[in-house]
């Protein structure tokens, strides 16, 4: 199965849905900072992998898929929920790669330049998550 880019799907996202994700992202980032200040980096660090906008994203996927099916004359409820479930399966693989991201930061940051460390960790996350996805597709 090939990976595809569909820019047309951006039209189905309403302005308030973009605003909602921006708001959630901002709030969770601020909260992570406040928790780290109050309880220390040990607890604060947990929230760097908090599923910040996952509930909002899963709901959007369910709604959009349902809407598409309804426009084609079907109910779409089941299809919408399965689509959200498939998205969550991908998120699980991305989270495994997020482990590598954290390991790279933890291992390299004390001795290397911050920008290089963040870039290396991001590249490691992207590479492993895509690799895991292709492996999962083959199994």
């Amino acid at each position: 199965m090939m990976v595809d880019v569909k820019f047309a799907s951006l039209k189905s996202t309403k302005p308030h849905e973009y605003a909602l994700r921006f708001l959630f992202g901002g709030i969770v980032t601020v909260t992570a900072g406040i928790i780290a200040k109050r309880f220390g980096p040990g607890i604060g660090g947990l929230f760097l992998a908090f599923p910040a906008i996952f509930p909002a994203s899963a709901t959007l996927i369910e709604d959009h898929e349902k809407q598409n099916k309804q426009e084609a004359g079907y109910d779409g409820t089941r299809r919408g929920r399965i689509a959200a479930g498939l998205d969550a399966a991908g998120t699980c693989l991305g989270a495994v790669a997020l482990l590598l991201f954290a390991f790279v930061i933890y291992g390299l940051l004390p001795s290397q330049a911050p920008f290089l460390t963040l870039a290396a960790a991001s590249l490691a996350w992207l590479t492993l998550s895509v690799l895991l996805w292709f492996l999962a597709k083959r199994i």
């Binding site: 595809d4 708001l23 969770v28 929920r81 991305g94 495994v96 954290a102 895509v130 996805w133």
Partner: protein, 113 residues
Amino acid sequence: MTDLLLRFLIGGTVVSLFAILGDVLRPRSFAGLFGAAPSIALATLGLTIHHEGKLYAATEARSMIAGAIAMAVYAATISWVLIRYKPPAMAVTLALLPLWFGVSFGIWHLCLR
């Protein structure tokens, strides 16, 4: 206050950008990878390094390992429940949030404290 506002703006922007990537990519399972993109970490770590230093940020990254394991467990459970039982996505993602807290704090308490 300026720091909090900056965090909010950077966090909102980075999370939104990864979410848009997830919107345009297909198939769904591939787009889902970006649901676990290191968006909050990228938004936060730069500021943390600037204000608190590299060792402080590295300590946060060490705990992030527990958070990432919890995220994988949370997402896998949601995927299974949604595909198997097909409940509303909002209900199941919110109802299972305590699972993320339990796993992440459990690992931190047992292995990283």
